[in-house]
Symmetry: C2
Subunit: 566 residues, 2 copies
C-alpha cells in the first residue's frame, strides 16, 4: 500500500469538506480526547524536557557552521538554553536544489501521500512535544497550543494539500492533438509536466509558529518545491521539531531530507532579507509584522510572495438582541491569548448615542464601561486569566502597553489599566491584563494601526453609518482580517456585509455563545482575503497554490517511434 | 434565454477541450471558411476604411480631454490619420470603480454569458474590421491577422473564461456549519462572496495586440474587475474597436459600459508608469518588452502583475531524420511575420562537428548554409515573401537590423543580409528579408538577449551537450517561451525535455510539415510557463485567474431570523 493509499480516505474526506465547507476534522478538538491522552501528554512533556536537557538540538542538515539559540520562555522568563544548528545559506540552497529533482519528478499523489504521512507523524509522535515547545516560546496556553498550534494547524495543512491537488489535477498529463494545416494533417503527442518554481523560504512568526507555516510548507512541497524554514528567533523549537519530523518522513519514503531544512538567525543578526534576496529563492511565505510583510511583497520579486501579516481588526456595535451576551463574547475574544492573534479585534466602533437593545438604548459610556467590566471579570481570577490570557510573548509588548496607556490618559480615557497577573502554575510568567482605552475619532492616529497585544480602543462615532465607515476604512487602509458586527437591523447588516466585502475583511455577525468570535475553522473559514494590506495570501484557496508550479510541455509528431533509441 | 444559456453548449465544449487538450475551435481556421466570406471580407474592409475616413474614432467614454493618434501603417508608411479620445485618467478609474459594483454582484455565470456574447459580437461583426486594423498597425499578413489576431485570440479568450469559471466554481457560495464548543453547539450560516480585486490595467503590444489582451480582459472581467485598456500608441485601432464592442455588449446587457475604457498615450508622453502606479490599479496585465515587463513585475505592487514579454527562443539541431525537412520548417518559422512574434526562434545551436543524419554527418558550415538557402528560398519571391514575412512593424527594427549586421560582419559571418522586398499589394510597405549571422559561443553578448525582428544566429557549439546547455541557459537567464529540438537520439531527447522543463520553455521536437513550429493552440498549448524571465503568467492556467478575486465571507448564527427586518 502506498502512503497515498494509506491516507486516501482521510484526504477524500478533506476534499469533501473543502467543497461543502461543513465542519470536519480527523482530530479530536480537545487534549483530553486524544487517544491515550494521559500517556501522550506525559510523553510529550518528557520529549520537550529532553530538548532542554540536551541543550543542543541535533539536526543532520548540511553546512552547519555553528550553534545558536536565544529563546526565552514567556512562562518562566528564563532562557530555554537550547541551541540549533546554523547552516551556511548557500549550502542550504544548493542542497535544496539537489533534493528537488527526484521529488519534482514523483507523481503528485506520491508527494501528497508522503506529506499526509508527515502530518500523521506530527500528530502521533510530536503533538504534545510541539505543544510544550509552543507554550515556552510563543507563550500560548496549553489548550490553545493543542488546538490552534496543533490540530487546527494540521487541519489547515491537509486543506493546503487539497487545494494543491485540485490545482495540479486540473492539468492533463498528456494529450493527442491533431489538426489539418493546408492539405496535411499534423498529429502531435503532447506531454505536460508540472515543474516546481524552485526553493521556497518559509518564515514562521513568534506568536503563532505552526498555524501558517505548516500549510505553507505543504503548499510548496506538494507542488514539488523544497522549503527552507526560517523561524522567528524567539520561537525556534516548535519549528525545529517540525523540520526534523519532515526530514525523517521524507528520508524514510526514499527522498532527500534536504527538501526541508532550517535556517536560523538571531535578533541582532537577522538573515531574513538575505534569504528573500537570495538568487535561488523562488517562493516566499511570510507570516509576521505588517511592516516586514510589506517589504517582502515589494522586494521578493522575482520570487513569488505569499504574506499574512495583521491589521486593525474592527468591531461595529450598532444594536444587540442581548447586549450582555455580545459584550461577553467580545470580551472573551479581546482577551484570548492576550490579543496576540492576527484575528484579535482592536478597534470597537460604537455610535455616540449608544447601542440599541430591545430594552431601549444603552448610552455609549455605559456600553464602554460594561465591556470593560466584562473583560475585568474574565481576568480578575488568576486561574481563569491564565487559561484565556496566557502570557505576553515579547517584552516589547509590555513596553507598548505602557506607552499606549500614557497616550490614552492624555488623549482619551483609560477604561482598563493593564497589570500583571500571577500565573497559578508559572509564577515567573510574563503576563498582563488588557489595556482598554476610550477615545473619539479625532485620535485616529492612535488606533489606526495595529497595536500588537492586549490593547483595544472603544471609539465614539457620529452614528451607525459613521461607525461602519470608520471601521471599514481601517481594514482598507491598514489591513483587517476579521470584523465583528452586532446589529438587529437587517438593512444595516446587509450594508455592513457589502462594505466589509469591499474592504476584504471576514465578517462575523451577532455571534454569541461558547465559540471565540475569531475562531477560524479549516475547510470552512477562509483566512485573509488578500484584498487589503493584511496580507496577499488566503489559507487556503487556489491562488495560494496555483502559482507554485509551472506547466512545461513538450510535443512531437505521433508517427515517430518514440519508444526506442535508433 | 440568458446569455449564458445561449453560449452554454460552446462553453462546455471549451471546458472539455481544456481538460483533454485536444484540438477544438468553434471558429473556421481560414478566412475563406468564414460564413459568407466574400460579404464579410468586404464589409470588414469597408468598416476599416470608414474609420480612416471618419478620422475621429468616437467612443462615448467619460473624461475626454482631447483627441490623439499617431499610428502609421507598416503597409503604406503613411499615417492612418485616426484620432482617439484621450480621457482623464482619474475619471477613468472613478468610472471603472463605479461600474464595478453591480458587475461584481452579478452571478459569475451571468458575467461569463455577457463575455461570451462580446466574443460572439467580435467574431460576427468585427473580425475582418479588426483584421485590417491589425494589418495596418501591427503589420501582420492578412492570414495571420485573421488567425493569430482573430480566431486564435477569440479561442484564447474562451479558454480564459473556462479557467476563470473553474477557479470561481471551486468556492461554495454558502455553507451550514455546526460544531460543539464545550457544552454548547454553535450553528453558523456562512456566505462566501467572490470579490474582485479592483480595476485592471491591460497593456496591449504593438505587434500582436489582441492575442494576449483579449484573454487578459476576459480573465479580469469574468472575475468581476473593470478593465482600462492601454494600447501601444502604434497599434490603437484594433483595441479601440475592441473597447467599443465590449462597451456596446455590456450596455445592452444592462451593465455600465465603463467596465471597459480606453486609455491612450503617445510615444513622447507615455502614461504606462502612471497607470501602473495609480493607487486604484489592482491588476496589471502587460504584454511587451522584456525591459518594461521587468519594471512592471518589480513595481506593480500592491497590484498583481501578469506579464508576457519575450526572450531568446532557442533551437538545438543535433541530428535529423530528414534534415532538409527540418531546415524548411525552421526557415518558415524564422520568417513568419518577420520573427516579430514572442515565440519566434532566434538562437540556433548546432554542434561544430555537424548534424547527424541517416546519410551521415552534415558539416556545421553546410547546415548553416542550407538553412540560409531555405530562408532565402522563402523570401526571394515577393508574393511568397509578402504572405510569410509581411511587414516590419517599427522603423526601429530596421535600425537594429543594420546595427546587428555591422556587428555580425566584425564578429562572425553574415549568412544572409537583410534587404527590403517589394510587397506586391503595398509598394510602400516597410519590409525586410531576414538577417542571419553565424557566430561562435564567444559572441554570447551579441545573441544572449532578445534581438527583436528577423534576426537569427547560427551558433557553433562544442557538441550536442554543449548546444543544449547553452540553449537552456538562454531560456533560464534571458527568458524563453519556445524551444525547438531535432534529434534522432531518444536519450538526448529525454535529456532535452528535462533541461527545457527546468528552464521553463515549451519544447517542440522533430516537427516537420505544414504546421509552423511556433504555432500555439488554445485549449491545448500553454503559452509562457512563468518559470523564466519571459513573463510570469501563463495563457491559460488557474494561476492566471485565481488571484484576480478574493473570497470574503460573512457568518452568523443560523437560529437568527435573517429573513426579515425587525
Amino acid at each position: 500500500m502506498t502512503l497515498f493509499e494509506k491516507h486516501q480516505a482521510r484526504f477524500e474526506q478533506a476534499q469533501q469538506a473543502c467543497a461543502t465547507r461543513h465542519c470536519w476534522s480527523p482530530y479530536p478538538e480537545m487534549p483530553d480526547k486524544y487517544p491515550e491522552a494521559a500517556h501522550a501528554k506525559s510523553a510529550g512533556l518528557a520529549a520537550f524536557e529532553q530538548h532542554l536537557k540536551n541543550g543542543r538540538f541535533e539536526l543532520d542538515q548540511p553546512g552547519i557552521t555553528g550553534w545558536i539559540g536565544e529563546e526565552i520562555s514567556p512562562y518562566t522568563q528564563q532562557a530555554l538554553g537550547v541551541v540549533y544548528p546554523q547552516s551556511d545559506i548557500n549550502t542550504l540552497f544548493n542542497a535544496a536544489e539537489q533534493a528537488m529533482d527526484s521529488w519534482a519528478q514523483a507523481p503528485y499523489t506520491q508527494r501528497i501521500g508522503v506529506l499526509m504521512e508527515v502530518l500523521e507523524v506530527l500528530y502521533r509522535d510530536h503533538l504534545f512535544e510541539v505543544l510544550h515547545a509552543v507554550m515556552h516560546t510563543a507563550g500560548q496556553s496549553y489548550n490553545m497550543a493543542y488546538a490552534g498550534s496543533g490540530v487546527n494547524a494540521l487541519d489547515r495543512s491537509i486543506e493546503a494539500l487539497v487545494y494543491a491537488e485540485q490545482a495540479m489535477c486540473s492539468v492533463a498529463p498528456s494529450a493527442h492533438w491533431s489538426r489539418r494545416f493546408g492539405s496535411s494533417e499534423i498529429h502531435l503527442q503532447k506531454t505536460y509536466r508540472l515543474v516546481p518554481r524552485g526553493t521556497a523560504v518559509c518564515f514562521s512568526c513568534a506568536s503563532f509558529p505552526t498555524w501558517n507555516a505548516w500549510p505553507s510548507m505543504m503548499a510548496s512541497l506538494a507542488t514539488g518545491n523544497p522549503v527552507i524554514l526560517k523561524p522567528h528567533p524567539a520561537t525556534v523549537l516548535p519549528m525545529a521539531i517540525t523540520v526534523k519530523a519532515f526530514r525523517q518522513v521524507l528520508q524514510a519514503a526514499g527522498f532527500d531530507p534536504n527538501l526541508v531544512t532550517l535556517a536560523i538567525d538571531t535578533t541582532s543578526e537577522p538573515i531574513g532579507k538575505v534569504l528573500i534576496k537570495h538568487p535561488k529563492t523562488a517562493i516566499v511565505d511570510f507570516t509576521g509584522s505588517v511592516r516586514f510583510g510589506q517589504w517582502v511583497e515589494q522586494n521578493a520579486h522575482p520570487a513569488l510572495a505569499f504574506t499574512e501579516t495583521a491589521g486593525c481588526n474592527t468591531v461595529v456595535l450598532e444594536s444587540a438582541q442581548d447586549l450582555d451576551a455580545a459584550l461577553r463574547n467580545l470580551a472573551t475574544t479581546m482577551c484570548l491569548f492576550s490579543a496576540q492573534m492576527c484575528t484579535s479585534p482592536q478597534n470597537i466602533y460604537i455610535p455616540k448615542s449608544g447601542v440599541n437593545t430591545p430594552q431601549g438604548t444603552v448610552p455609549f459610556n455605559e456600553v464602554a464601561q460594561r465591556l470593560a467590566t466584562a473583560v475585568q471579570a474574565l481576568t480578575s481570577d488568576p486561574k481563569k486569566a491564565s487559561m484565556i490570557l496566557a502570557t505576553i510573548q515579547s517584552p516589547q509588548t509590555l513596553a507598548l502597553l505602557q506607552e499606549m496607556q500614557a497616550q490614552g490618559q492624555q488623549r482619551g480615557q483609560v477604561l482598563l489599566s493593564p497589570r500583571p497577573y500571577s500565573h497559578p502554575d508559572f509564577p515567573g510568567a510574563r503576563t498582563s491584563t488588557p489595556l482598554m482605552l476610550q477615545v473619539s475619532t479625532r485620535e485616529r492616529d492612535l488606533y489606526a494601526e495595529e497595536r500588537f497585544g492586549p490593547i483595544s480602543f472603544v471609539i465614539a462615532c457620529e452614528d451607525a453609518d459613521d461607525a461602519l465607515k470608520q471601521a471599514t476604512q481601517d481594514a482598507r487602509s491598514q489591513g483587517g482580517l476579521t470584523a465583528f458586527l452586532y446589529s438587529m437591523r437587517e438593512d444595516f447588516i446587509a450594508q455592513a456585509e457589502k462594505a466589509y466585502a469591499r474592504a476584504g475583511a471576514q465578517l462575523t455577525i451577532n455571534l454569541v455563545g461558547a465559540m471565540p468570535l475569531n475562531f477560524a475553522a479549516a475547510y470552512s473559514d477562509y483566512h485573509v482575503t488578500g484584498l487589503n494590506p493584511a496580507g496577499n495570501a488566503t489559507l487556503t484557496n487556489l491562488a495560494f497554490v496555483a502559482g507554485r508550479f509551472g506547466i512545461v510541455q513538450s510535443r512531437r509528431p505521433v508517427t515517430q517511434d518514440s519508444g526506442t533509441t535508433p
